[in-house]
């Protein structure tokens, strides 16, 4: 990764963080339910945290296991959304959300070799949780199908791009474990896990 590319990525991150978070309802009125479904996860920090962490984890494991998530994760999103609408189940409590973030971060920080099947199962489960969480935005007038399509597209685009970037960035298998690229990816895992730990603490505080 060239210095310029990295700078650009950092810049984008900063600008993204600074940008005004648009209200999903305004998007809905302006661009319809497809874009409402697509933008809601992109503008929700919790969703983005899970998406990016999962993408980096899968990307760090290599193309052979990562590529399945291109399909599995969006399917999980749709399944979760569908289940939440059909069975109207309550979203998972915040402590479970926090625990999944913690677990995801620890997996990345430990840089374990996760088998493909397990990775897919994790991705599908996370997708279902996030999909169900996004069902909270649905109102009776919302076109469910369009909203689901938008949600799945956003999940697909984000996870694919993040995985490809992480894959490009990661340490080649020939380099030693102490290579700084490997450390940087694992450090991100440490950060994610730290955020998850704090959120878990917060859910007990109230």
């Amino acid at each position: 990764m060239s210095a310029r590319l990295r700078t650009a990525a950092l810049t984008a991150l900063v600008l993204l963080a600074q940008s005004q978070i648009a209200d999903a309802h305004i998007v809905n009125a302006r661009l319809g339910d497809f874009y409402a479904g697509a933008l809601h996860p992109l503008l929700t920090l919790q969703d983005m945290l899970v998406l990016v962490a999962l993408g980096v984890l899968a990307g760090s494991l290599g193309a052979a296991s990562g590529r399945w998530l291109v399909v599995v994760f969006p399917l999980g999103l749709c399944a979760g959304l569908g289940l939440a609408v059909a069975a109207s189940i309550a979203p998972v409590p915040p402590v479970v959300d926090a625990a999944t973030i913690l677990l995801l971060g620890l997996l990345l920080a430990a840089s374990l070799r996760i088998p493909v099947a397990l990775l897919c199962a994790i991705a599908f489960a996370l997708g279902m949780m996030r999909g169900a969480a996004n069902a909270g935005e649905l109102v009776p007038q919302t076109d469910r199908l369009l909203y689901a399509a938008g949600l799945a597209c956003a999940g697909y685009v984000t996870i694919t791009l993040v995985m490809a970037v992480a894959l490009t960035f990661r340490r080649p298998d020939t380099e030693p474990v102490s290579s700084w690229r490997g450390i940087a990816l694992r450090a991100i895992g440490g950060w994610v896990a730290a955020v998850g730990l704090m959120m878990a603490g917060l859910s007990f505080a109230t």
């Binding site: 291109v70 007038q141 694919t160 970037v165």
Partner: protein
């Protein structure tokens, strides 16, 4: 290499199929409200085109010093100056036009859309910088919305990217498409040519069918017209799509003196949306290649057929509408 794009286009084609509904719906229900100044600062207003949901549902707010009790609008000595807002524009109504005719008989039109729910009414002075910024914001946003909601335009661009496969040729092709639709958009908006909307939409559908066929040809090793002269095809169909873009502007009843600026800003908005889309597609192609996430051999032709089927569906349904109207 081409298979790298496969999954992406299946997704987009699906999205296109789904988007077909709002795309039809947003073929504009534009309400028109006219105010005529009876004596200084006092206007009589009426809906000349009623909003679909009825006039009562519209949350119209006039500048605070004005008292609105339709049909009367009393703004006192200051006159109708300040911000007009319709906060609840949404799916059923894409835009509303407010026409104000002054005592002197001069008429001005203001377009309020969901993208830009506030317009500022200025005095009779010359347009200031604020007016231009307001205008730019309105029409750039309208342009972005139009291209983002136009699944047919996006699918056509995707087809072009697929056939040309990136690099300089792609840049030239997209530029040709841009020039093509800019020219015809301008020509149509100035009223130099007029094309009825229904047959035009059918043509746009057909243009995507054409691209789908060209992709299949390319996969079979034949060299089609698009592969040989991509810029010519892009320019030609760009002309057709541009007339389509103009239909978004046509209903707005723009004042003649702001038309060139509005047209420019609208086109800028369309280009912004198009660049966003092309960038996203190229990024996804890179990502798929990086991940080696490609369709197996037996499914390689699936996306081209998906594009073809969706666009054929559009073409036929639009053709039916033409025939039904005739």
């Amino acid at each position: 290499m081409t298979v790298a794009r496969a999954l992406l286009s299946v997704v987009l084609a699906l999205a296109g199929l789904l988007l077909a509904r709002p795309a039809v719906a947003h073929q504009a229900t534009i309400a028109v409200l006219e105010f005529r100044e009876m004596r200084a600062g006092v206007y009589i207003g009426r809906w000349t085109t009623l909003p679909k949901d009825g006039a009562n549902r519209i949350d119209l707010r006039m500048p605070p010093h004005c008292l609105l009790r339709l049909p009367e609008l009393n703004c006192g000595d200051k006159g109708l100056v300040g911000q007009m807002t319709i906060a609840n524009l949404g799916e059923d109504m894409s835009a509303a036009i407010i026409r104000v005719t002054s005592l002197a008989g001069e008429t001005r039109s203001y377009t309020i859309s969901a993208a830009n729910p506030v317009v500022t009414v200025l005095g009779t002075d010359a347009p200031t910088l604020d007016t231009w910024i307001e205008l730019a914001k309105t029409y750039v946003n309208l342009g972005i919305d139009h291209i983002l909601l136009g699944a047919d335009h996006l699918l056509f661009v995707l087809g072009l990217i697929w056939i040309v496969q990136g690099g300089w040729r792609l840049l030239k092709t997209i530029t040709a498409f841009t020039i093509g639709h800019s020219v015809s958009l301008a020509v149509t908006a100035f009223g130099l040519i007029g094309v009825p909307e229904a047959p035009l939409n059918a043509c746009i559908g057909l243009s995507i069918v054409f691209v789908g066929v060209e992709i299949v040809k390319q996969q079979r090793g034949e060299i089609g017209l698009t592969a040989k002269y991509p810029w010519a095809v892009a320019f030609g169909f760009g002309l057709v799509h541009g007339i389509g873009f103009a239909s978004a502007l046509a209903g707005l009843g723009l004042e003649r003196r702001i038309l060139p600026a509005a047209l420019l800003f609208f086109n800028v908005g369309v280009e912004i949306g198009q660049i966003l889309f092309v960038t996203l597609v190229l990024a996804l192609i890179w990502a798929h290649r990086r991940l080696g996430a490609e369709l197996p051999r037996w499914g390689a032709e699936l996306p081209a057929y998906a594009i073809g089927s969706v666009s054929m569906f559009w073409f036929l349904s639009r053709l039916v509408r033409v025939l039904a109207a005739a």
